[in-house]
Amino acid sequence: MAFHLRACSAAFILLLVAGCSIPENSCPSHNIGAWSAQGEAEVYVGDDLFVYINGGAEIYHEYGFVQVAVQRYVRGDDSISVEIYTMDGDAYGIYSFARSPSGHGVNLGNGGTSAEYYMHFWSGPELAVITAESEFEDLGAAVLEIGTAVAECLQMGGAEPDLLDQLPIDGRIPGSEVHFTGRLAFLNVARPAAPLFNGFEEGAAAGLESGERAAVLRWVDEAAVAEALQEARRLCEASGGVVVEIEDGGGVEFETGGHRVLASVSEDLITLRVQKEEQ
């Protein structure tokens, strides 16, 4: 089986998408409870991800995609897909982006989230995605059963990024935190602010109970922060927006596209408060 699995992953990398039968001692095993692996596993490496994902593959590349292994499990007419993405560093970032913000936590790997018909969890450089492809009675239990078996096979290690600690605690919606290093993710988690701020090293964002979104962006140093803030002023005004300097070092308010974004600076960080869209 392809999932970075002890018995077969090296062969998969050599064969790329040629497929590989699941050996008896693979992890996870060919049979998980009443579920059986169907056909050969598939592995997509590097740009071959565009073969597997027709639209939206860019976000995985933005997070440092290396390969994905895919296998379907079946039980009669029911089917569940298992995808294991391997990234070039800790998979927390892609996990935080991909998980359901309205799901509930599951204790698999370093952390997981389960939603209506699917589950994400991560460990080390790997993200596991377990998805029921059809509706059936014990869907939630089946996804958990397969997820538990897959979790045993993931690489160990990894830690959540320190930047998450810079997000506000009061009013933060648990499970809404997203860590990112690229602009496509930034666009998705703080859309009105994304066109204004460029060149950051990493960012984190979270939803707030007020309906606003909080984001923290880190630049390489204070000089880069000052430069980025100045560029944001220019971009806002160039797009017809309004820039308001708040007195006594209270930050800068950007009014752009019908939204307000409040920015404040601290050393190599810019903290953003993005007004919710319907306001």
Partner: protein, 312 residues
Amino acid sequence: MSDRKNRHRITRRDFVATGAAAGTLLATGVGFGEKSQTPPLDLAVAHGPDVARNTAAVIEAHGGIGAFVRPGQIVNILPNAQGSHPGTSTDPVLVKTVVDLCKKAGAREVRWLTWQSGKYFERSSIDQLVKGSGAKFIQVDSKDESQWNNFDVPKGVALEKIRVFKVLEECDVFINMPIFKDHIGSRFTGSLKNYMGASHPTDNRLFHPSFEGEDLLRMEQCIADLNTVVRKPDLIIADAMTILTSKGPFGPGDIAKPQKVVAGIDRVALDSYGATLLGLEGNDVKMIADAHKLGLGEIDLGKLRIQEMEVR
């Protein structure tokens, strides 16, 4: 092709009445090929649990398949085949229903077009989708330049040139068959963006080369620009039965079940309606607003003649 212009115009209220009638006709088994007295409309929306019945109803509301497909004609279709995650691909039953109706109307051939590689379609779920549709599968080789038109885009704001596979033009009838769903870059994908299934994959990647600064939203303008040069759809039938409302276009993510099929000819109108199913308005989606500015269709749902039908 369609004889829409020969049909008379009626008021919005009339459409609601004819919609109910269309549903009744379906329920009593009137043939789809029969000529309908239904006047022209912008969008037909069928709501109900059966995707096949919904699909037949929206086509009937537009005058029946005979208004679009004549005996001996070649029909090209462009479904969205994304994968096996729920709410990401055009419903296979919807596709098969359209293919069957086209054949019943006497179509010489119904052709499913794609540039996606063989490996993509070898995946079991998509392979089943294609084989079950009854359409002839036309797989365009992205490396064979002879299979591609290289269009200048004179009205393009961001796009100057684009390659589109030639086979799109080589038909009598073109039916665009998207699914409405969330998209990571544009927040919505539907009729307009589905044309990226006909433009060259290498060119598509250049729609968003860096996501830096002004490039961030360039993809949406490029999609609108692309739509100024591609073959116009003779009919659009959009799947809104089970749709991905977050983490699109690939998922998995939150799903909604509007249980609707929507049909029309105006790409902007279709997408403006489809956006509402994801809690957005047409103007919230830059791609739709850009297409409207380019004169590709009507974004204001209040100006459209929309027929909503309950189909049981």
